[in-house]
């Protein structure tokens, strides 16, 4: 009996997403205890409205990190994509075509990150740190620091229209998460991603084109960042040049809290979804309980460190439990 209990306990602890899930539940309970308003329909709707933007970016960062690379430029891509879209509309292109062009250009930014990193063999941390500054600078240069007028002819319903008390964006987020989960866990390409990030030498020796795997994920990551940027600009009906500043840190935080290893080869989609929820719940909860918003960074910092401790230290201990 006791043994069965230990075994059950061990199985639970070894689930990679468990530490983030426990933290999320704890945070939700604390906020709810302080202010019951936190779990009112109105507030839940607000949380679900802001989550997809961070959540989608974090999913791209997760896929790339599992393959063994970083992207620090997602925040800048997030701002760059809507600006491009607006520019093309101003130049007389149809809204739909402008959106497609903007997404293609976001992918191109990812391809550039991938090409520079892989061709010159430099760390993606450096490449994308540079790219982060370059594209943020480009956004400011293009706009002169002022938001261009948001095209009124743009049909925003498809991304952020109301569906009951929700917005369409949460369904896009759900669909993307399911698709990425499927690719990662159920396709050969997903297996190549884990292998590439987990032991690139072994993966290559088994005939996996690790450069191609990474390149595709650089593009995917940038595409998702650009798409999330479009969602935010549609929701706010504006294209601020400062959009997505610091977003790369929140996205990496969500990824790491969700159990993805910084060194690659390990990670899950569901973990990152929980991580993104945790960050946005803390963000929103602090407002609801009227704490100074400065606490936000403090709590996220604690959450990151705690999650990694739980994921590595506690897991190692749990593995050694006899059962």
């Amino acid at each position: 009996m006791a043994r069965g209990l230990v075994s059950f306990f061990k199985r639970i602890i070894l689930l990679r997403e468990i530490s983030s899930l426990v933290m999320l539940l704890a945070v939700v309970l604390v906020f709810f205890a302080i202010s019951p308003l936190f779990l009112s329909w109105e507030n839940v709707a607000v949380i679900l409205e802001i989550i997809p933007e961070l959540g989608i970016v974090a999913l791209g960062v997760t896929m790339l990190m599992i393959s063994g690379e970083f992207d620090l430029s997602v925040g800048s891509t997030f701002a760059f994509c809507p600006i491009i879209m607006t520019m093309f509309v101003v130049w007389g292109f149809s809204p739909l075509l402008s959106v497609i062009i903007a997404l293609l250009i976001a992918m191109l930014l990812g391809a550039l990150n991938g090409f520079i990193t892989l061709f010159f063999g430099i760390p993606s941390f450096i490449t994308t740190l540079g790219a982060m500054l370059i594209w943020r600078g480009a956004v400011l240069l293009i706009t002169g620091g002022w938001p261009p007028p948001f095209p009124t002819e743009m049909y925003t319903g498809i991304l952020v229209g109301r569906v009951g008390f929700l917005r369409a964006s949460i369904f896009w987020y759900g669909a993307i998460a399911i698709l990425l989960w499927f690719i990662l866990e159920r396709t050969d390409f997903g297996n190549w991603m884990f292998a590439t990030g987990g032991n690139q030498v072994a993966a290559r020796a088994m005939g996996i084109d690790t450069q191609r795997v990474k390149f595709i994920n650089f593009m995917l990551c940038a595409l998702l960042a650009g798409f999330a940027g479009l969602i935010q600009s549609f929701r706010l009906a504006t294209t601020l040049p400062s959009m997505g500043t610091g977003l790369e840190m929140d996205a990496i935080a969500a990824t790491v809290i969700g159990g993805t290893a910084l060194s690659g080869g390990v990670g899950t989609v569901i973990g990152t979804v929980i991580g993104a929820f945790l960050i946005r719940v803390i963000d929103n909860g602090l407002v609801i309980i009227r704490a100074p918003s400065y606490w936000f960074r403090v709590f996220i910092g604690i959450a990151i460190i705690l999650a990694v401790i739980l994921n590595s230290f506690v897991r190692e201990r749990a593995k050694k439990l006899r059962c």
């Binding site: 690719i183 159920r186 396709t187 050969d188 390409f189 997903g190 297996n191 190549w192 884990f194 292998a195 987990g198 032991n199 030498v201 072994a202 993966a203 290559r204 020796a205 088994m206 005939g207 996996i208 595709i216 290893a261 080869g265 390990v266 593995k319």
Partner: protein, 248 residues
């Protein structure tokens, strides 16, 4: 030359690296179902010879015959396609992946393809990986256990099971008993004997003669890029080989 006595035959192989001669005129052959021990001190040219055979780089001079036909490999992938599987201790497995995913890494079983990605046939991969492990008499509880949790000897067993499953004709083992306990090393030697029972040829590279000698049919000694000995086991003794290996 090139008649079908040998599975693989390397003739007069030369290799230079930045002006340094790594191999000079080495002849090396492996028969069908034969275990060849390749021994020599560090820097003798063992790994250079093996990397040429497994397609990592071409020889600067010399020819390679496989099943009687001359071959040129331009990548490890090509060598693998012919049935030459090389197992490097550190580079054979991805520790954080399951046994099943490791066995089928790069050669996944699919239900169907959709563009760039294929839908994994997980039930079949589970079944086949357990069968592959039974082939080397390796009893592991689940195909979903992480390779990280296996001992060094068990990992070698999984790698050998993988080579057998994919019908390799020649398995090259690079220092398979390095850093293993005595008991674990014995298990690895047993895996190598299993290869022979299935008529799969193998090359066993080691600087530990006491591991190579009991299982090998033939022992080849390299020193300073040259072959200095090639004996059937019956014709030689550990003492003689040791004497040759330590020659200056």
């Amino acid at each position: 030359m090139g008649e079908n006595r040998y599975l693989v035959e390397m003739v007069n192989i030369h290799k230079w690296f930045a002006g340094v001669c790594a191999l000079r005129g080495v002849n090396f052959a492996v028969g069908y179902g034969e275990i060849v021990g390749l021994v020599g001190d560090n820097g003798a040219g063992k790994s250079t010879l093996i990397k040429i055979l497994s397609g990592f780089y071409p020889p600067d001079e010399g020819k390679i015959f496989f099943e009687g036909e001359e071959k040129r490999f331009s990548s490890p992938r090509e060598a693998r396609k012919l049935g030459i599987e090389t197992i490097y201790q550190e580079a054979a497995m991805v520790p954080k992946m399951s046994i099943m995913r490791n066995i089928f890494m790069g050669r996944e079983l699919l239900r169907f393809r959709m563009g760039p990605a294929g839908y994994l046939d997980i039930p079949r991969m589970e079944e086949e990986s357990m069968m592959a492990l039974q082939g080397v008499d390796l009893k592991l509880r689940s195909p979903h256990a992480l390779v990280d949790e296996l001992s060094g000897g068990q990992r070698q067993g999984v790698a050998i099971a993988r080579a057998m499953y994919f019908k390799s004709k020649l398995v090259i083992l690079d220092e398979p008993t390095n850093n293993l306990s005595v008991k674990e090393s014995q298990r690895v030697l047993e895996f190598i004997r299993e290869l022979k029972r299935q008529n799969i040829s193998s090359i066993f590279i080691s600087h530990n003669l006491y591991h190579v000698y009991p299982v090998a049919d033939r022992i080849v000694i390299l020193s300073h890029g040259e072959k200095i000995g090639d004996f059937r086991k019956e014709e030689t003794s550990i003492e003689e080989i040791t004497r040759l290996m330590v020659l200056p």
